[in-house]
């Protein structure tokens, strides 16, 4: 006898097989649906959130660099440090003479109030800023390689002040100014080449006696390695501005960036720098802080996802097995009447494997759509996020397929083992009430 069943026979067999069990069956499939939906949703959104955090918290400081700042000077608003320990020329020279140091690049903050004015997205834009004087090597990569990174006030009539814009400032623009004025957010790539004017000696909160100076500027690059309200400009320009507006201020350096001969030398340099009383910051240190935050958020999300997922999968397994347990008697009757085992296996395969697979795929699809919808909604609500990432929902196909496969295999596999156990049970036991 051939055991291939016609579709109409399968339909009738399933119809009779499930009569009185539809609720249990739909519930078990509903659990699988929920589990696959949650799996996809949490993985994709979780990875997306991790991307955003990485993007926000990552640093461009290369592994072999150490940023040296006076203690108490914290990257942030309008730094015009006065008093306390200074980075002197002697300190710089002594650091340069350290055997493990390949190069020392200086950085100086402008000690004068300043603001930036321009047009962004067709709208006039104004913000108070701090100027960070940096050398071409300061950013530690080839960011400024093709740019003429020199400027003095004498150049103002014939060239534009090259500017490295802080990506943090960009984020602030996106989150604050752009949102409140219904402007599109800006991406780091999108601002390159924009022109603006930089006024020195005056800001919305401070004004010096000296006549303000305004120069035209052009954004040449962006960096995550700058202070919040800072723009990076050529070192000698800030030096010139400080001397012009505050001639009595002898501070020469606000920070130094030490490039070690190799990344392995960084810990030794950090120790020596800290012995001088200065503060040393490394990528590892920055990264560690970021990693702790990202790790904490990821762990919290993962724990929540795992708890929900575990609950959904165990519920799915429980209901699938329970559904089979409720059918022990029916299976016993069918076996007693001589139903071929492979027909029962076919019914089981169709009902559990095939339908569960369809349910899982359906749940995963809805999970994708929900994740995509959540991502679109969040991005539409926040231009900061929009500027930082294209999407909050990440779909690593391989991982998602593996996750779904494991979930499906776990739930249907356990159900199948239980099914085989029922088939091995003596008929007389199955028929016993």
């Amino acid at each position: 006898m051939g055991f291939c069943m016609k579709p109409s026979e399968i339909r009738l067999a399933l119809h009779l097989w499930n009569r009185g069990h539809w609720r249990d069956y739909i519930f078990s499939q509903g659990m699988l649906f929920t589990a696959s939906l949650l799996l996809i949703f949490f993985i994709s959104i979780g990875l997306g959130v991790q991307n955003v955090l990485d993007r926000f918290l990552s640093s461009d400081l290369p592994a072999e660099q150490v940023r040296v700042t006076p203690p108490g000077v914290q990257a942030g608003f309008f730094q015009t440090e006065t008093g306390g320990m200074e980075i002197t020329e002697e300190i710089r020279v002594s650091l340069e003479e350290m055997p493990l140091v390949a190069r020392v690049d200086p950085q100086i903050y402008a000690h004068v109030p300043a603001y930036l004015r321009g047009r962004l997205g067709g709208q006039p834009y104004y913000t108070d800023i701090t100027l960070e004087g940096i050398t071409c090597e300061f950013l530690g990569d080839s960011l400024l390689e093709s740019i003429d990174w020199s400027y003095s006030l004498e150049d103002s009539s014939r060239k534009l002040l090259p500017v490295v814009l802080s990506e943090n400032l960009l984020l602030l623009y996106n989150a604050g100014f752009a949102e409140s004025n219904n402007l599109l957010g800006l991406t780091p790539e999108g601002v390159i080449g924009m022109e603006c004017s930089v006024t020195l000696g005056r800001s919305s909160i401070a004004e010096l006696d000296h006549t303000p100076v305004t120069v035209r500027a052009r954004i040449e690059a962006t960096s995550r390695n700058m202070n919040l309200f800072a723009i990076g400009v050529p070192f000698e320009f800030v030096d010139q501005i400080n001397s012009m507006f505050l001639p009595e201020d002898t501070r020469r350096y606000s920070a130094l960036v030490i490039t070690a001969v190799s990344a392995e030398d960084v810990p030794s340099i950090v120790r020596e720098v800290e012995e001088t009383g200065l503060r040393a910051e490394t990528r590892r240190g920055i990264a560690q802080k970021a990693e702790i935050l990202v790790g904490a958020v990821t762990a919290a999300l993962s724990a929540l996802a795992a708890a929900i997922l575990f609950s959904a999968i165990s519920n799915a397994i429980h209901t699938l097995v329970n559904d089979l347990r409720n059918r022990r008697f029916a299976l016993g009757v069918l076996i007693a009447l001589g139903t071929p085992y492979d027909r029962l296996a076919m019914i089981f395969s169709f009902q559990i494997f095939f339908m569960s697979m369809i349910t899982t795929v359906l749940g995963a699809t809805i999970g994708c759509l929900l994740a995509w919808g959540a991502s679109s909604t969040l991005l539409s609500l926040s231009s900061t996020l929009r500027a930082a990432v294209d999407t909050l929902a990440v779909f690593p196909i391989g991982w998602l397929a593996a996750g779904l496969g494991i979930m499906l295999a776990a739930s249907t596999g356990i159900a199948y083992v239980f099914f085989r156990k029922i088939l091995r049970t003596p008929v007389t036991s199955l028929l016993r009430p």
């Binding site: 009779l16 069918l334 009447l337 139903t339 492979d342 007389t428 028929l431 009430p433």
Partner: protein, 220 residues
């Protein structure tokens, strides 16, 4: 010609021997009645003859097949082909109606569904069982018993194993049932092995065997 050959069948439950080296031969088309007191092992014997219980000692051959040598799947095929069952507790699926219960073995075994449905309707009609959509859980005990008989017959078995098939029937229904069984038996030639207590039905049997002390004793 024998259709069942059982020799030296023994079966124990937790050390207590219920069947003790029982021998039985059943011939094609005969009506064999088995009697005996409650708990003597009649249902156990039927379960062994129906290949539901395999934990016995001895040899059992059905239609020339040595059941000890058959795998579970082969035994299922043997049951499907040769055996019809009427269980003492009916073993109907309560969520299905009468016809669905009767055609259930055919649905899952790949027989001719239309023919089975038509036969089921005929048998149920002859047994005065409603063939509407009423679930069997809502039928009376007597009606359920008749549905169980109909299911045992639908595959046109060579042997009908029936455990007290008329226990829940009134005398009239009992006579109707056995009239039908006699009619079909003559028509199709199947053997009936039934646990019977009713004297009027016992009179219809070709042989009556009493199960006592683990073995069968012929009474007529």
């Amino acid at each position: 010609m024998s259709i069942i050959q059982a020799s030296k069948i023994s079966r124990s439950f937790e050390g207590m021997e219920v069947l003790s080296g029982l021998d039985l031969t059943v011939f094609n088309g005969e009506f064999l009645a088995i009697t005996g007191r409650s708990g003597v092992g009649k249902s156990t014997l039927l379960a062994i003859l129906g290949t539901h219980d395999r934990d016995f000692i001895g040899n059992l051959s059905i239609a020339g097949h040595d059941t000890r040598k058959l795998k579970s799947s082969e035994l299922a095929a043997l049951r499907r082909k040769y055996l019809g069952f009427v269980f003492q507790d009916f073993h109907l699926l309560s969520s299905l109606n009468a016809i669905e219960n009767v055609i259930l073995p055919v649905v899952f075994s790949g027989g001719n569904l239309e023919l089975a449905r038509s036969q089921a309707e005929d048998i149920l009609e002859m047994l005065s069982v409603r063939t509407d959509q009423t679930k069997t859980s809502l039928l009376s005990r007597g009606e359920r018993q008749r549905v169980a008989v109909a299911r045992g017959l639908v595959n046109k078995p060579s042997i009908l194993l029936a455990d007290e098939p008329s226990a829940s029937l009134d005398e009239e229904s009992e006579q109707i049932l056995f009239n039908l069984l006699d009619h079909l038996r003559k028509q199709q030639g199947f053997a009936i092995i039934a646990v019977i207590h009713s004297k009027s039905i016992l009179e219809r049997a070709d042989r009556i065997l009493e199960l006592k002390d683990g073995v069968l004793h012929e009474t007529i």
